[in-house]
Amino acid sequence: MEVGQMQRRLVDYTKSLFMEGFLDAQFLQLQQLQDESNPDFVVEVVSLFFDDSEKLLNDLTMALDQPNVDFKKVDAHVHQLKGSSSSIGAQRVKNACIAFRSFCEEQNIDATLRCLQQVKQEYYLVKNKLETMLRLEQQIVAAGGSIPMIELGF
């Protein structure tokens, strides 16, 4: 596939992510931070996000698995996940975290378990999407092209 085509695919794909709410404007900022002096910025941040989130999700699962759930701890984890997902622009994950936190306050075990599932789901979804997108970018760069900047016209 030639570079131009790949680029178009990438643009469309990325745009769809925004449309569907997986990503928000914050992600755009990240992309804008990437430049010659910082060529892998997005990849690095996204990877960090993946690592950190997996860990948080594990911690959350364990915490909610306890006979006596420590909601403060759970809340702290969710708060962190919310912070990082919002920083990266993973909108749906962030929203799921917000809902999660409100149930944490209520100390509602069932609801929080459900929320956890939801957060996980959103996380894996966005992870998948981001990985696909990054792969596309890599292919473009490998083929000698440059990554097009997304203009969010909407």
Binding site: Q26, Q29, L30, L33, N38, F41, E44, V45, L48, F49, D52, A76, H79, Q80, K82, G83, S84, S86, S87, I88, G89
Partner: protein, 661 residues
């Protein structure tokens, strides 16, 4: 882990091309946010250094005060509460700090403001918001050049104080005292006791602002005491009472503001320290921890279970007052005073504290001090220092003791103030805490008395700083820490505060020169630390404030010997006596001659004395102060969020005392 990134070239410190190259220190435990933030800042052409631990951030900041222009910190961090870091930075280095959080809770934002943050940003941070953060650096610098009238706002004051403010305590006072005052930038470096430099740096840099010399501050405190720290203490009235030529209402207003903050810090610091002490209780950590921590922990909640106070009402009362302080210490103190306070209380933890009669109280104090010390690295230092100081400390020998006792009724005021101070300065705070502060201070001082003020200051400063840092390290120090740390860093403030607290008492204390005030501050810190430092501080502070107290709690000096607790006790004793205005104090003195003698007896005696005194309230005060002091310590340990004394310590504290009395 820290990294440095930055677009600008090296060290032009951005001043030439400001805001380009402005040096920012970013602190956030979330690696993603930190990385993004760092990159955003770089994009704004700032020079960025990052770290994911607040403790490291503090170290870096302390390592060189001029290394950074601005600090951005997350609110929720595991190793230290963002607000605590905020306070410490503000007090020690007087740098603008921007808070960062994913929470937009109004209360949090308010908390940021009260702790001195110059801005509060929400995550995710956008580059547009970061583009203008340099304004905060400029704002801070401005007051220096401006007239003091420019803005009594705290941030400025803080900045200003750095220079001018540092002279809170004693421009003229004893050299030793000056130590306390030393410039923020000098904190930690001033370990040595050279009294000289204290305000010199600031003084020389001072612009035409009012220099709040020890005397001036004393007058101020006296005026405030007279009016009561409540509604009546309005700048205009204070100004009139002070009757100082050339002083403007604005000067007083800004000074008052700082003073209040200081008191608040002291109370919180005290609490934290207490906590710290408890937790850390180097001496007898276990003791402290179990004892004090519990006690403190409870106390923290102010309303929390006053374990101690079961017995004496006063203790409760004092607790109330102190409760405000946050310091569980206070509580513990109260508890102790109530008699039969759990000897094991935190004080024990401190190790030194003698579980003797006073033990409860003493312990508290001791614990506080101890704890503080313990927690504080200074402990080691203090130990050595204390001994050294011992000789040097004038107060000690003199039994500068805190005049405080008499102040009890005043103590109210004082207490408030002292407590405040306690909270404010780690060391100082402790001591200074209002009435109890006095007590505490005494104790603190007592213990330290031996240490020359200067050294104390240093130490205390260090202590306080350390304390704070300890606290920080130990966990989130809730607000209090700031106070503790403040001691050292807080050159002006600490001194001031303690002085302030002392100030209130100071009126009483004519004899003690500002040094004592400073000492108090330092004592406060020291008290916390338990080390002689604290004593010194206390002493210093106490002396100043406790002008009334004739029976100086010179014990501090003697107390200092390792058994800080002891000292604390003695201090308490003295305080009590003062409070009671009776002989107790005298009694105490006899013991208190301690200045030279480190006998624990003194302290014990004192405590005993105290105990006998019906003035539970009084005793409580002592304890409370200790608690307060301790609480900050403990707080840190426990990561409690005890509220740093919400400004009211002074007031609150006063009450119990009054009631007790």
């Amino acid at each position: 882990m820290e990294e440095k990134m930055g677009g600008s070239n090296g060290e032009d410190s951005g001043e030439d091309r400001f805001p380009v190259g402005m040096r920012v220190l970013a602190v956030d435990d979330d690696p993603i946010c930190l990385k993004i933030l760092a990159n955003l800042l770089c994009k704004c052409q700032y020079q960025v250094t990052t770290t994911n631990q607040a403790i490291i951030a503090l170290k870096m900041l302390r390592g060189n005060k001029n290394r950074y222009d601005l600090v951005i910190s997350d609110v929720n961090m595991p190793d230290m509460d963002g607000f605590k870091l905020l306070e410490l930075v503000g007090l020690e280095m007087d740098l603008p700090v921007i808070m960062l959080s994913a929470h937009s809770d109004t209360k949090l934002v308010m908390k940021g403001i009260t702790h001195g943050a110059c801005d509060y940003l929400l995550k995710p941070v956008r580059i547009e918001e970061l583009k203008n953060i340099w304004q905060h650096v400029v704002r801070r610098k401005k007051p220096d050049s401006k007239d003091e009238l420019a803005a009594p706002n705290h941030d400025k004051a803080r900045g200003g104080t750095g220079e001018a403010g540092q002279t809170w305590v004693a421009c003229s006072s004893d050299q030793k005292v000056n130590k306390k005052r030393k410039d923020q930038s000098e904190d930690e470096e001033e370990e040595t006791e050279d009294n000289g430099h204290e305000n010199e740096d600031s003084s020389s840099q001072k612009k035409p602002r009012v220099v709040w010399s020890v005397d001036l501050h004393r007058k101020f405190v006296a005026a405030v005491n007279q009016l009561g720290l409540g509604d009546q203490a309005v700048p205009k009235k204070i100004l009139d009472l002070m009757n100082v030529e050339g002083l403007t209402r604005e000067n007083v207003a800004s000074h008052l503001q700082k003073y209040r903050l200081y008191l608040r810090r002291l109370s919180s610091v005290a609490t934290q320290q207490a906590n710290m002490v408890v937790a850390l209780g180097s001496r007898g950590p276990s003791h402290l921890r179990t004892g004090s921590l519990d006690g403190f922990g409870d106390f923290r909640s102010f309303t929390g279970p006053r374990r101690f106070s079961s017995a004496s009402l006063p203790s409760n009362q004092s607790r109330g007052a102190f409760g405000r302080l946050n310091s569980s210490a206070a509580l513990t103190l109260s508890g102790i005073s109530s008699g039969g306070i759990q000897p094991g209380n935190s004080v024990n933890g401190l190790g030194k504290i003698q579980p003797v009669v006073l033990p409860a109280n003493q312990n508290q104090n001791g614990a506080l001090f101890q704890g503080i010390t313990a927690s504080i690295e200074l402990n080691q230092l203090s130990q050595t220092k204390s001994t050294n100081h011992f000789g040097e400390y004038n107060c000690v020998n003199e039994r500068n003791v805190f005049r405080i006792s008499s102040s009890f009724p005043d103590a109210k005021v004082v207490v408030g103030s002292s407590s405040n101070s306690l909270s404010t300065a780690s060391g100082n705070a402790l001591v200074l805490q209002g009435n109890t502060q006095e007590v505490q201070c005494n104790a603190a001082f007592e213990n330290l008395p031996s240490f020359g003020m200067t050294s104390l200051n240093r130490e205390s400063n260090d202590l306080s700083v350390r304390g704070s840092s300890n606290c920080l390290e130990h966990g989130r120090c809730s607000e209090n820490w700031q106070g503790t740390v403040q001691l050292s860093n807080f050159p002006p403030s600490n001194e001031q505060l303690p002085s302030n607290n002392l100030q209130e008492s100071i009126p009483w204390r004519n004899s003690s020169p500002s040094n004592s005030r400073i000492a108090l501050s330092s004592m406060a810190s020291s008290a916390v630390f338990g080390d002689s430092r604290a004593d010194m501080l206390c002493k210093a502070g106490l002396n100043n404030s406790y002008s009334h107290v004739d029976s100086r709690v010179s014990a501090s000096g003697s107390m200092m010997d390792q058994n800080n607790a002891v000292i604390s006790n003695t201090n308490d004793v003295s305080l009590f006596s003062h409070l009671n205005g009776e002989a107790p104090f005298a009694v105490w003195h006899s013991e208190g001659d301690k200045s030279s003698s480190d006998t624990d007896l003194r302290s014990n005696d004192n405590f005993l004395f105290l105990q006998s005194k019906p003035q539970n309230g009084f005793s409580q005060n002592n304890f409370e102060s200790l608690e307060d002091i301790m609480s900050p310590v403990f707080k840190l340990e426990q990561n409690n969020e005890t509220a740093f004394m919400d400004g009211g310590l002074g007031f609150d504290v006063a009450y119990p005392l009054g009631s007790c009395m």
